[in-house]
């Protein structure tokens, strides 16, 4: 089975994240880049499926040069090879153009199964998997809490507000996973060393038949008009519990008409 895991480099949530004042896009230099946490679950699930059913796991990322670090981590976990879509023309791409560019690469490299984390910790749109399924005409099995593959068919538990849906589909499919699905492995020293020798193919947009007019800031279907730091919340009232903390909190709720 040919599995492609999409990973994204995002700014570390433990550091200050910013937008750039010149073009309102993410400031990638302001914070350390890390693998989007939810994508680690996607990598783990891909590796598990490979272990159970055989095949190959390819890591796909789109991002500037330094996103290579993200690829190395996935390779160190055990992925076989990587494709890095990197081109200045992609800067400022929104979800629509990102899904278009990644779909073009996926068409070029081929896949039975594409796996993503359910959202990124920076943009948090949660739309990329659905968009890829739409663009590729593949089955959409998103928000998976459990994945089973059997002879060209796939079944998942799709998390819902009321519990879950059991969903079945033929391959090829695009799936996204939630963090409850597994426990991502830590790369071993051996894995880290082996990752250095694994093939990483870097593609520019022309290599994947990506139309420059469909990507980048100028082509984006939506735009950030302006932004500002959120005003600090006005300091609240903090009381120490002297045996009446619950009563005092109730007074506060009553003053706000919640009770």
């Amino acid at each position: 089975m040919n599995i492609v895991v999409c990973v994204k480099q995002v700014p570390d949530t433990a550091t200050e994240r910013k937008l750039r004042s010149d073009d309102n896009t993410l400031d990638r230099d302001a914070a350390d880049g890390v693998v989007n946490e939810l994508d680690e679950y996607a990598v783990e699930e891909a590796l598990k499926l490979k272990e159970a059913h055989g095949g190959e796991v390819t890591v796909l990322t789109m991002g500037p040069g330094k996103a290579t670090d993200t690829i190395r981590k996935a390779l160190a976990m055990g992925a076989d090879k990587a494709v890095h879509l990197s081109d200045d023309a992609l800067h400022g791409s929104d979800a629509l153009s990102t899904s278009y560019a990644m779909a073009q690469v996926l068409k070029k490299i081929g896949f039975d199964l594409v796996i993503l984390g359910s959202e990124s910790t920076d943009a948090r749109t949660g739309v990329l998997a659905a968009m890829l399924a739409e663009r590729l005409g593949a089955s959409q099995l998103t928000l998976a809490n459990k994945v089973e593959v059997d002879k060209g068919a796939i079944a998942i538990q799709r998390l819902t507000d009321y519990g879950y849906d059991r969903v079945e589909a033929p391959l090829p499919a695009v799936i996204s996973v939630v963090e409850k699905i597994n426990e991502p492995r830590y790369p071993s020293f051996k894995g880290i060393m082996a990752a250095k020798k694994k093939p990483v193919e870097t593609l520019a947009i022309g290599d994947a038949s990506i139309d420059a007019a469909q990507v980048g800031l100028a082509a984006a279907w939506s735009e950030v008009v302006d932004f500002a730091a959120a005003p600090p919340r006005a300091a609240g009232t903090i009381v120490k519990d002297e045996g009446d903390g619950g009563e005092k909190a109730a007074d506060f709720l009553a003053s706000k008409k919640f009770i």
């Binding site: 949660g126 659905a130 059991r166 279907w221 939506s222 909190a249």
Partner: protein
């Protein structure tokens, strides 16, 4: 004024509150038209949609609209967009709502904005990003604005619309019928509201201490008619089911009132709740970062404070 399509969120024939919020929002920007996807519309549901301003109610009642994951609803909306040229399409910013919006955006070659917490003239959306640290105005530049709006962003206000019903038939493509829902498993029973659309959320964290102790959190939630949430520390420890996790990798909530008990307020948690209108924190540690956000904070042991609060709430109701 142009029509604004509002995709109705419904369960067991009932319209969810978020839809009333979206109709209220749509009314300020155009003429709301509700879109009911799937079987099971009731006279009560129609009356409710009209009560909150739906001039038209498009009803696509075929079973197959809900038999597959997301794609049929996107095809239904795409067909309505082509046929009615609406000024915008609004959906709830739930996980499924956002996926529908994403597929619709591609089908209609339109921009999409997710997680809007406000919408003003020209469909300029307010968003709160990076865990609530930055406020953004954004807008769609191409096609029909498609906006996923967070529940609890707008107070629903009734204002009668005509509620004229129009049946819609959709012929689904084969591509929309690949991922079939073969079973729906309801795990959570009981009267508590859904986490993402509850007006009040009471969440417990590491300080709760055990799965059994979550009954303290549930007790307060039930007294307030609230949903229960949990921090990642609590769900990772297995004290509360994962689908109730609030935070960066869990659910985003934006309630009128958020009560955090035994939650330190790490940035990962704040990312999921920082747009709550009023925040109350209860924590033993006076240095807990959650107090920086709190409108009201009690430094104390939640095992004493929460039961007392629950009792007071019940007494004063």
């Amino acid at each position: 004024m142009s029509e604004i399509l509002v995709l109705v969120e419904h369960a067991e024939g009932e319209v969810k509150k978020v839809t009333l919020e979206l109709l209220t929002l749509a009314r300020s920007l155009g003429t709301p038209a509700a879109v009911w996807a799937g079987p099971g519309i009731t006279p009560e549901a129609k009356a409710r949609l009209a009560e909150y301003g739906a001039e038209k109610i498009y009803v696509a009642g075929a079973d197959d609209i809900v038999d597959y994951v997301v794609a049929p609803k996107a095809e239904l909306l795409a067909q309505l967009v082509a046929g009615t040229s609406p000024a915008a399409v609004l959906v709830a910013a739930t996980a499924e709502g956002k996926e529908i919006a994403g597929r619709l955006a591609i089908k209609t070659d339109s921009g999409v904005i997710t997680d809007a917490v406000g919408l003003s003239e020209g469909f300029v959306a307010d968003q709160s990003i990076f865990g609530g640290g930055v406020n953004v105005h954004s807008r769609v530049r191409k096609g029909t604005p498609i906006v996923a709006v967070r529940p609890n962003s707008t107070a629903p206000v009734a204002a009668a619309g005509a509620g004229t019903e129009e049946e819609v038939s959709v012929t689904l493509s084969d591509a929309a019928k690949t991922a079939r829902v073969v079973e729906r498993v309801k795990q959570e029973k009981g009267a508590r509201p859904e986490l993402t659309e509850a007006a009040i959320v009471v969440s417990g964290g590491r300080g709760v201490g055990s799965a059994e102790n979550f009954s303290i959190i549930e007790g307060l939630a039930d007294a307030l008619g609230a949903a229960v949430g949990a921090s990642r520390a609590a769900t990772d420890a297995g004290w509360y089911p994962h689908q109730f996790q609030v935070g960066q990798t869990g659910k985003t909530v934006s309630p009128q009132l958020y009560i955090a008990a035994g939650i330190s307020g790490a940035i990962q948690h704040r990312a999921g709740m920082q747009t709550a209108k009023t925040i109350v924190a209860i924590n033993k540690d006076p240095e807990a970062p959650i107090f920086e956000l709190a409108d009201y904070g009690v430094v104390g042991d939640l095992h004493q404070v929460v039961p007392q609060l629950t009792e007071e709430v019940s007494k004063r109701k």
